[in-house]
Structures are given as C-alpha cells and as structure tokens.
C-alpha cells in the first residue's frame, strides 16, 4: 500500500482528496500546513506528497526545500497543487524539485492519473 501525504489548509479540499485517495487504496496522511507536514515526515516516509503553496505558518516552498534535503525522502515524489497559476509560479515550483505542478481548480481524475504515473515510474 502506497503512502500519500496531503498538505492543504482548506478542510473541504482535503476532504475530497482524502476520500479519493483512500478509495484508490492509498494510506493517507493529512497536514493543515507546512509545519504539520514536516512533523509527520519525521516519522513517516510517504511515496508522494500533494502540497499546497499558500498556507499559514510554513508555506509549500519552504516545505519542499526541507523535503529535498531529507535523505530519507529521496524517492518521495512531490506534486504542487496550488491556486498560484502564473508561469513564474510554476517555474519556481519545478525549480525547487517538484515532480509535477497542478493548478487549482483541478480535475480529480487528472490528479489521480498524475499520481499513478509518477508512482509507476519509480522503483
């Protein structure tokens, strides 16, 4: 069973994501901001993180930087899921080492496809 970490401060978005990925047989972890995510990552090594950018306390950019520094998480994929949809935002997200960048509002179907695609290429 693959592990997935959902990081977003919007409870209603989290609810949809949680339902979807549980249905797709993922073990789901939930964080309401970057700080909570980093706390979870101290004990869990998920295969994939879905990361919002604009959040209270610690934002998505800071979070990915720490994820990329964590040696235990070298295989962990990161997808940015953000309402920031400018070219420059996407570019910045990819430069920080994200594997994909999806803009809000998003299609659940496409997100699931993206997640499966990223996980199938990994060993």
């Amino acid at each position: 069973m693959k592990k997935i970490l959902l990081v977003d401060d919007e409870p209603n978005i989290i609810m949809s994501l949680e339902y979807t990925f549980k249905k797709n047989n993922f073990e789901v972890f939930i964080a309401r901001d970057g700080q909570e995510a980093l706390d979870i990552l101290k004990i869990e090594q998920p295969d994939l993180i879905i990361l919002d950018i604009m959040m209270p306390n610690v934002d998505g950019y800071a979070t990915i930087e720490l994820v990329k520094k964590n040696e235990k998480l070298t295989n962990c994929k990161v997808i940015f899921l953000s309402a920031k949809n400018k070219e420059s935002d996407i570019e910045k997200g990819m430069q920080l080492g994200a594997d994909a960048y999806m803009t809000k509002p998003f299609s659940i179907k496409k997100l699931v496809e993206q997640v499966n695609e990223l996980l199938s290429t990994s060993p």
Partner: protein, 895 residues
C-alpha cells in the same frame, strides 16, 4: 553771570562731548553706538539753534508759521522707506561720501558737477554756520549780561568759535576714507540731541507751569493782546500757498542739506535703522515743538511793550525771574544744537571741498607722485584745515555780514539755495533720461533766479533798503520785481523765490535732458542708480567699460592711497568674488569700477576716475552701444531670472513626479498582489466545489452520509464565494466614493451587542471567552449602524481566528471621551509583526512572505473596516499590547 564761569562750564561741556566721542570711537560696533536709536537721534542734527531760538521768534511774531519747517520732514518720512533705502544702497556700493559725490557720480561722474554742487553747498551752508556762531555769541552775551565787543579779538565769542573749530577739525578727520563711519561724532551728536530736547522741555515746563499756570492761563492772557488774532491766522488761500511752499522747502531740505545727507546716508550702518527713524524722528520733532508756542506767547505777555528780540525769549524769561540755573541750561541746549550743526556741516563741507573741488582741480597731480603715508596725511590735513577755515570763514561772515538779520531769514535762504539741487537729485534716482547738461543747466538757472529773487535783494536791502529795485524791478520792468516776479504777488519772498527757482530749475532740467542725450557714462550710471536693487550684489558688473588696462598699473595707483597691504587684501577679495585667476594681467570693467570705488572714499569720485583713467586706455563707446549692452544685460537678467524660476519649477515638478511615480509603482505592485490574493481566494472555494462535484458526479458507490457531506461542502463554499464577491464590491464602492454613509444617533453599546450575537455560535464552538458589559451606560454617537456592525463583526471574527481554542480571551471596551468615542477589541492571540501593524489595513495587503497565508483571510475585511471608519471621519489602528493585540477605532462626536 560771570563770563569766566560760563566759559569754564562750556569747556567742561565740550570736554564731556569729547569724552563721549572718544568712548564711542573705541567701542566701535558695540550695541551702544551701532543701534537704530543713536541713528535716529543723530538725524536730529536737523534741529539747530533755529529750532531753539528762531522758532520762538517766529511763533511770537506770526503764530504757527514755524510749523511748516517741521511738517515737510514729517511728510517725507513715509517716503524714506523707499527713497532713503535706495540712496543708502547706491551710496554704499559706490562708496559715496557726500551729496556732491552722489549727484556728480550719477551724471557720468562729472568733475564739474561735483564742484558745482560743492560751491552751492558752501554758499548755502556757510552763512548758516555763521548763523549758529551768531546765536552762540548772542546768547553768550545775554547770559553773561555783557555786550559784544567791537574788537573781534577782545570778544569772548571769538574764542568760543576757535575752540569749536579746533574740536571739529580734530574730530572730523579721523579717517582718510570719507565714506567710513564716524562713530564718535554720530554718538556725540545723538547725545546732544537728547540733551537739547531735554533742556528745552524743562524750559517749556518751567515757563508753562511755573511762570504761568498751564497752557490755558497763557492762552487766556495771550488772547487778550491786541494783535493776537491777526498773528494767529493762516491768512486765507495766499497764506496756505505760502505754507505749502515752506513745506516743500523743508521736504527737500531733509534730503538735500549736506549734514542731513551725511547723517542719514553716509553714517547709516544698517538699512533697517530707517524703520526706527521713521517714527522716532517725527516724535522727536513733535516733542520739540510742543512748548514753542507757549514759550513764545509767554514771552509776548511778559515782555509786552518792551523792545526785546523774541528770538531770545527762551533765555530772557528765566533771566527775568533770576533763574540762573535755567538760563545756563537753555544756553547749553542751544549751544548743543549749534555745535552739532557746525561740526557735522563743516565735516561734510570740508569733505566736499577736498574731494570734489581741491583734489580734482589741482592737488591730484602732486598726490599722484607721492606714497601712501604722505598722501593720507596730506588728504587729512587738507580736510582738517578745510574744517577749521570753514568755521573761521563762517565766523567772519557772521561778524561782518549778518549781524542784523534774524536766525530764520538766513536759514531760509540756505534752504532755498540747497533746494536747487532737488530736481537733479531726485531725477538721479528715478529718471534714467536725466542728463548732465540738464542737471547743470537746471541748477545754474535755479541759482540765478535765487540770486535775483532773494540774495540780491537781501544784499541790497542791507546797503540801501529804499532802493527802487524792489518796487520797480530791474531797469524799471515791473514784471521783474524781485519779490513779485512775473506779477506773482501773493507769496512771501522766500516761498516766492522757491517757487520760481524750482519751477525753472525743473523745467530746464527736464527740457535739456529730453532734448540732448547724455553720454554713455551718464546712461550707465543712470541705470546703476535707478535700478540699484538689481545690481546691489555685484554692481561692478553693471559698469560698462571697454579698453586696455593692466592690473599692475591699477595696483600701483591703489597703493599710493591705500598702501601695500590694503591694496593686496582688497584685490584678493575682488578676485575671489568674481572668481578671477590670480595671475590675470589684464583688468576688465569690473576691476576698473572696483578700483575707482576704493579710491572714491579717499579722493572723491571725480578724482578716482581721473586717476584710473591715467593708467588705463579706454576705447570710446557710443551711446547706442551702451544702450544695447544695458538692454542685453537687462534681458540677460530677466532671462536668467526666468531660467532660474523655470528650473526651480521643474525641480519641484520632477520631485512631485518622482513621488507620484513611486506611489504609482507601489500602487501597481499592491494591485498585482491584490489580484493574486483575490484570485487565490476566489479559486479556493471553486476548487473545493469542483472537487466535491467531480466525486459526486463520477462515483456512484459513494456512501449516503459522505455524499451529504460533500453536498454540504458545496453549499458552504458557494456561500463563501458569494460573501467574497460582496466584499470586493463593497470595497470598490468605498474606494470610488459610491458608498454613502447614513449617520444617525444611536447607542454604540447596543450596536456592539447586536454585532456579537451572530458570532455566539462561533465563540462557543471555539470555547473562547468574550468579555463585554452589555449593561453599561448608553454611549450616544452619530454613526451608520449597519456599517459599524460590519466593522465590529470583522474585528471580533478576526480576534476569534487569532486566538487559540479554549484559552482564547476577547475583551471589548468602550471609552466615552469629550470629543470622540473609542472602541477597543483586545484578543490574547499572537502579536502582529510590528512592520505590518499599518499595512494590514491596506486592501492589497499580504504578509511580507507572499505565500504565508494570513489567518485573517483575504485581507479585505480590515481594508473595508478602514474605509468605513474613515468615512465616519474616525481612525482605526492596531497595536501589540502585553499578552495580545488590540484593534481600536475612534468615532468623532462632532463631525
């Protein structure tokens, strides 16, 4: 009184003045000597023995006729602010030391005109000085009860005159540079002005209140005298005309008398001293004239039927009552008035004599060859001997010519002669077309008429008072009668002479000036005089001169008069001022003018010009050329001024643009941030709605409970979206001013309670504590309730968001002040970054780190609050306090 004792008193008095002069000279520029009061009082050199004795004679004989001589100056004072300041400036920059310098410089630095003015001044003032000596002598004899000795060398007054001459010649020539200030003399004169006024007032009080019983008593007795009525009328229109002419006469005198020119212009230290003088001097004259009338008529009453000279009433009255002290006091006052006039006049006359007559017409050649020390010594000696001789000459004049005339008539003749300088003088500062030929012709014609209408008859009458000349005129032409020229028969001799001489003088001056143009130099100085304010700071620039001159030659000349050290110092200052290279060999127009100025104080304007001319080679410039240069420089000045103005305007404008641009850049950035925030905020509920809908759409196996939850989410998020849109529109309305505030008086306590009730659910959910006393006294204020509810709701919901669950505390307080009410919403949540305390109210605000989302939400809420409060003319702000944050706003009570 014994004449020996009186002489001792006089010598003591002179010693005191000498001491004061010495002291002031040593003090230099201290506040005791260099102040507007000393300046104003020194102007009172105007009041001579004429005021002391003569006025009383006039008042005794013809009532108020003594007044016009003081009215003229008083009328002139308001004009002083303009005229005097202009003359002072012209004189200062050109180093002018006398009225002869002033007039001759303006008309092309004419040697001849300077000499003419000097001669006229001598003619006018010498007799006048003689008159003062006469007054001293006469009063001396009255006080000592002695008679004038026929042998000049046995008469005490001769020796008094000698002592005076020595005093003046020693004190008047302290400096070679005649344009230097003479602190000693000025202070001594000011002191004498105080004394003479003081003594005169004491006399006035003595006569009015001791001898008589006040003004009324004198009037009551005087009005019973036979000729009282007749002596105290203006004599209709004709008398009025006489008055007017006398006023004009004295108006001119206050500017033109050489001693007045000297005191008010040459000795002026600061322009602003004029401001004190224009009230203090008229006040001085008023005080002086207060008792003239009572003394005069008191004298008339006391000496009725006796043959005494009314001029001497002020001595005779105390003497009649054997009051020796008062008699001596009055004598000293008159003596003060006399010596002030004698000393100042003789100094100015001797300066004019040396600088405008003797040096340019003879001595210059020998001065040119000598060195500085002997030159300075010779110039000083010339002046010293000049002063001495002038006083002795005046004494001789008095002894042999004016023994029998009253003080006033000789004084009046002096005034009329001096007034001939008027047209050229006033033309000099106001009319650029006035020319040398016009000035000379005007003055000569005026003088001829003076000679014919007063001086000649004056001399004739002392020889043969019955001469046919008076009745039949020249060669029997009746229209040439000296006192009724051209049939003008209703003026007294003095106003009559003034009228005709001044009329012809002015007309000739105008006519000649307009008909024949002056040369380029006159035109050049005309420009510098009339427009002095334009050139005040760099007047050397205004001087037009073309030719070849070497700095070394000019330096050689300067050294002869200034000495090595002063010459070098002056030249280095000059080079610094105009930024000229020290090794520049050729002199330009500015240096020529500068050098002339340096010499002017020593040897006068005309000689300075002659000396500089002797070492320079000037090319002739035509008048049209000068006019062109002047026009150009004037245009340049205007253009320069305009350029400076424009460039200043541009600077201001560009600064404004810069700020505007900066504001725009900030606004633009804020707008981008706002759009980012708003789109993010709008997308968030849409995202939630879309995700939930997609699941509901695609997933058929979704359990009923979860399905319901998703549907609930869609409803919540749709509401949120709608609220957001409302907020954006609200803000837009406030910003564009479309949102109106509807004020009505209400109890703010009630409004707060109303705002809190919908939030109760949220509060109890989060288990936080809200403190607010709903039962406190009414607080009435004008506000838009709906909008204020919006503000309070926003602040309280923010506070709820800021505080932690269970431990949260919110305190709402209301302060009722005299002018305003203040509402505080405190919460014990995390403080706000101090940098952001103000910016959180900006509508485009986002936290510095753009990706950290504020718990407040879009940030629109506080922006709207701010708009609402500002629409109420109130203020809203946030501050970090101990253990939390307080958001406060005030609503003013009187809008």
């Amino acid at each position: 009184m014994n004449s020996g004792i009186l002489i001792v008193i006089l010598l003591l008095y002179l010693g005191l003045l000498f001491f004061i002069a010495q002291w002031a000279e040593r003090k230099g520029n201290s506040k005791w000597t260099n102040n507007p009061y000393v300046y104003s009082l020194s102007l009172a050199v105007y009041c001579t023995t004429w005021t002391y004795y003569g006025s009383i004679g006039v008042a005794a004989n013809s009532g108020l006729n003594y007044i016009p001589i003081y009215l003229g100056p008083v009328i002139a004072f308001p004009a002083w602010i303009v005229i005097l300041r202009k003359i002072i400036r012209i004189s200062r920059v050109n180093k002018i030391s006398s009225i002869a310098d002033f007039i001759s410089l303006r008309y092309g630095n004419s040697r001849f005109l300077g000499a003419l003015v000097t001669v006229i001044s001598l003619m006018a003032i010498l007799p006048y000085v003689g008159l003062q000596l006469k007054a001293i002598s006469e009063t001396f004899h009255i006080v000592t009860n002695s008679t004038e000795s026929n042998n000049v060398f046995l008469d005490t007054s001769t020796y008094v005159a000698l002592v005076l001459a020595l005093f003046a010649s020693f004190y008047g020539t302290r400096y070679v540079d005649a344009s230097e200030k003479r602190k000693g003399i000025v202070t001594a004169v000011a002191m004498e002005s105080v004394l003479k006024l003081f003594f005169f007032i004491i006399l006035g009080l003595y006569v009015t209140f001791y001898v008589f019983d006040g003004f009324d008593a004198i009037y009551a007795k005087a009005s019973l005298m036979d000729n009282f009525e007749e002596r105290n009328t203006i004599h209709g229109l004709e008398g009025g005309m006489n008055w007017m002419m006398l006023i004009i006469l004295s108006f001119f005198s206050i500017f033109l008398l050489p001693r007045q020119f000297h005191m008010s212009i040459v000795e002026n230290n600061r322009e602003k001293h004029i401001r004190t003088a224009i009230w203090l001097f008229p006040l001085y004259l008023l005080l002086f004239n207060l008792f003239v009338y009572p003394i005069a008529w008191g004298g008339n009453i006391l000496f009725e039927g006796k043959d005494v000279n009314p001029d001497m009433f002020s001595l005779l009255i105390p003497q009649l009552f054997d009051n020796t002290f008062m008699t001596v006091l009055v004598f000293l006052g008159g003596f003060s008035a006399a010596i002030s006039m004698i000393v100042v006049s003789s100094i100015t006359l001797s300066t004019m004599l040396s600088n405008n007559l003797l040096i340019p017409y003879g001595l210059l050649g020998s001065l040119q060859k000598d060195n500085q020390e002997s030159n300075s010594e010779r110039i000083v000696n010339i002046r010293r001997i000049g002063i001495f001789l002038l006083i002795i000459l005046a004494f001789i004049y008095y002894r042999f010519f004016i023994m029998d005339f009253s003080l006033v008539s000789v004084g009046m003749i002096s005034f009329v002669i001096v007034a001939q300088l008027g047209p050229a003088f006033f033309g000099a500062i106001f009319w650029k077309r006035g020319s040398l030929n016009g000035a000379v012709a005007g003055i000569i014609v005026g003088m001829l008429i003076c000679f014919y209408t007063i001086m000649l008859p004056f001399l004739l009458s002392s020889i043969n008072p019955e001469s046919n000349f008076f009745k039949e005129g020249f060669f029997g032409y009746t229209f040439l009668q000296p006192f009724q020229l051209f049939g003008l028969d209703y003026l007294e001799p003095i106003p009559h002479a003034l009228f005709w001489s001044l009329l012809f003088n002015s007309l000739v001056y105008l006519f000649v000036s307009v008909s024949f143009k002056g040369n380029y130099r006159e035109r050049n100085y005309a420009e510098m005089f009339v427009d002095i304010d334009k050139y005040i700071n760099n007047h050397e620039n205004a001087f037009i001169w073309k030719g070849t001159a070497y700095v070394s030659d000019i330096k050689k000349v300067l050294k002869r008069f200034l000495g090595e050290e002063r010459t070098n110092r002056a030249l280095s200052i000059f080079k610094m001022k105009y930024n000229i290279a020290p090794d520049n060999l050729l002199a330009d127009a500015r240096l020529v003018k500068f050098a002339e100025n340096l010499l002017t104080g020593h040897i006068g304007t005309a000689s300075a010009k002659i000396l500089i001319e002797s070492v320079t080679k000037e090319d002739k410039i035509s008048l049209p050329e000068v006019l062109k240069i002047l026009e150009e420089s004037k245009e340049n000045l205007i253009i320069n001024k305009k350029l400076t103005e424009t460039s200043n305007e541009l600077k201001v404008l560009s600064a404004q643009l810069k700020t505007a641009n900066e504001t725009l850049v900030i606004k633009d950035k804020q707008k981008d941030e706002f759009l980012d925030t708003v789109t993010h905020e709008l997308r968030t509920p849409i995202t939630a709605i879309r995700a939930a809908s997609e699941i509901l759409h695609d997933d058929d196996e979704i359990p009923g409970e979860i399905k319901k939850q998703f549907l609930q989410n869609i409803i919540t998020e749709s509401d949120r979206l709608n609220r957001l849109i409302d907020k954006i529109l609200d803000l837009e309305k406030f910003e564009t001013g479309k949102q109106k505030i509807y004020l009505s008086t209400g109890n703010i306590i009630q409004t707060i309670s109303k705002s809190l009730s919908p939030l109760q659910q949220l509060i109890s959910n989060k288990k936080i504590h809200v403190e607010f006393d709903e039962n406190q006294f009414k607080v009435l204020v004008d506000f838009d309730e709906e909008r204020i509810i919006q503000v309070i709701t926003n602040l309280v919901s923010n506070a709820i968001k800021f505080t932690d669950e269970k431990q949260g505390l919110i305190i709402i307080t209301v302060l009722n002040e005299e002018d305003f009410i203040k509402i505080n919403v405190f919460n014990n949540g995390k403080g706000i970054n101090p940098n952001e305390l103000e910016t959180i109210f900006d509508k485009f605000y986002q936290s510095n780190n753009q990706n950290i989302k504020k718990p407040i939400g879009s940030g629109l809420g506080l922006a709207i609050c701010k708009q609402i409060i500002e629409a109420h003319k109130g203020k809203i702000w946030a501050e970090n306090v101990q253990k939390g944050v307080t958001f406060s706003f005030i609503l003013p009570k009187n809008k």
